[in-house]
């Protein structure tokens, strides 16, 4: 079996393939390259959320970009969802096996849900409670609509964002579900002059204040397949910056960890450290040690990719998983880590904690961002990666 890695399909010399696996986000300009691949291959697989549904990069469509799911451009493809996509599933579908049935994520979650109405929405939670459902704590988790997965962010005190949806239009369904859960939260009404009765008010109220970024929280991976109209907000011109603008500060590590590529670990840590430094959030020496380990593992990962060394790649990802929880870096957070990494080291010495959201401009040379009082990213510039 011969596996070839094509990073620049425009310069690719056409040759016949049995199987083509496409990953990464797609723009309408890629149509020519995609047709070239389609003409030369017997079977095509879309691997990962970026390709199947637009993934995290589709959030830029809020600002008028045109990230497109692969199935809108070429036909006869097989989708392997997930962020990250699961290599086991990809191998299985290439071998012609059917993927296992729908196993909801909640069935493997150790937390238990009661679905009582919420009195408030919490954007960060104490990590000591490991039995109550995130949603019951007022901490939005998309697990209700998600399939069982390999990365399992929920095991690292991180709520699910629904990268492997189990139902059609999962974001919209989850919005309805969470909106219902928010039933006890104060909502503004106003008197309607014409109808002489009350109506739902347009003004901001506790409901809208408690979810400053509905799009990023509910539609992080499924914006393009949920039937919402294309966003019309002014773009900054840069796709990556548009993905981040409008997101919440506490969600940033979750998003940068998902970006993939060679630099996602250093980018995540840089974002976190910039914030920590500006707000005097103290970090223990143990935390620093683990972070430095992650950075050196990232260098190893790049080397393994360049050398096409599969074994080293796997060994390195295993080590990253041990510290960061999964390849989405769910365990990494402001102030430390969310879950025990090493039983021999006292967890208290590197535990992350709830931080205050402080308005202001954060600068670190390569990454500069500006957040408003609600913790929403207003502007961001990223100079590398």
């Amino acid at each position: 079996m011969n596996i070839e890695f094509i990073s620049d399909p425009q310069d690719w010399k056409e040759e016949n393939m049995d199987v083509a696996v496409i990953s990464g986000y797609i723009l309408p300009d890629d149509l020519d390259s995609l047709q070239k691949i389609q003409n030369n291959s017997k079977r095509i697989f879309a691997y990962g959320d970026c390709t199947t549904t637009g993934g995290i990069f589709a959030l830029a469509n809020q600002r008028g970009h045109q990230v497109t799911p692969l199935k809108d451009l070429i036909s006869n493809i097989t989708n392997v969802n997930g962020c990250l996509g699961e290599i086991e599933e990809l191998i299985a579908v290439i071998n012609g096996e059917e993927l296992q049935g729908n196993n909801p994520l909640c069935s493997v979650c150790k937390r238990k849900a009661t679905c009582d109405y919420l009195d408030s929405v919490n954007r960060q939670i104490e990590i000591d409670d490991e039995e109550t459902c995130f949603n019951d704590l007022g901490f939005l988790c998309n697990g209700f609509i998600a399939k069982k997965c390999k990365e399992r962010c929920i095991d690292f005190n991180t709520p699910c964002r629904g990268c492997k949806p189990m139902v059609e239009r999962s974001g919209i369904r989850m919005l309805g579900m969470f909106g219902t859960l928010m039933g006890n939260i104060e909502m503004a009404t106003e008197h309607s002059e014409k109808g002489a009765t009350d109506k739902l008010a347009d003004a901001d109220d506790d409901l809208t204040e408690s979810l400053p970024d509905i799009l990023g929280n509910f539609f992080r991976f499924t914006l393009l397949t949920s039937g919402l109209p294309r966003g019309r907000i002014q773009s900054s011109g840069n796709l990556l910056q548009d993905v981040f603008t409008g997101r919440l500060i506490e969600e940033l590590p979750l998003i940068t960890g998902l970006l993939g590529g060679n630099r996602s670990i250093s980018l995540t840590l840089k974002l976190i450290e910039t914030y920590e430094k500006a707000n005097n959030i103290e970090v223990s020496t143990q935390t620093k040690k683990y972070r430095n380990e992650l950075l050196s593992l990232e260098a190893d990962l790049i080397e393994a990719t360049n050398n096409k060394d599969a074994q080293k790649y796997k060994a390195t990802t295993d080590k990253i998983r041990k510290i960061a929880g999964n390849m989405n870096l769910s365990n990494v957070y402001f102030g430390g880590f969310k879950q025990i990494i090493d039983d021999d080291v006292d967890f208290e010495s590197y535990k992350s904690h709830i931080f205050e959201i402080v308005e202001g401009t954060y600068k670190n040379g390569s990454i500069n961002y500006n957040i408003d009082p609600k913790g929403v990213i207003k502007e961001i510039t990223i100079k590398e990666g």
Binding site: Q62, R169, I172, R173, L175, G176, F178, G179, T180, M182, G183, I185, M187, T189, S192, E193, K194, G195, A196, T197, D198, K199, L200, D202, D205, L207, T208, L211, D213, I214, L215, S226, G227, L228, P229, R230, G231, R232, I233, G246
Partner: protein
Amino acid sequence: MSECEVIDEEIKEKIQNIVVFMCNECGQGSANTAGVARMAYEPAIRIVRVQCTGQIGPIQIMDALNNGADAVACVGCCIGACHFFNGNLLSMHRIKLMKKLFKELGYSDQFVNQYTSRAAEGETAVGDFEDIVERLATAIKEEGTIKDGC
């Protein structure tokens, strides 16, 4: 419909279908009362009767909008007067989040709304319809229709 006459003809043409989900109790009740009293209302209003507005959520709203509706509204019982338990409040919570979502995407938040009415008073329902059309016309004038971006 004196309010609608001030609307530019062009905008009026763009308002063809407004799907209004009315609950079986107060909402539909007031529409029936209005019908008995032969009150006129905007022809663009398309009433869909539901048991309770609590049945309406983001899925039904997006289905209507994606299938040609210019706007969607719910008309339910008055606050605290839901004939079941609190269906009208729950749908208001969901619709409020939908409004916020439209704003985040750069659209007007007037494409979805929720009203209340009283079964014994037909004019409450007709007044709500007038308000829906007026708000939608203003929104289209200022920010364009929802189809401009689909």
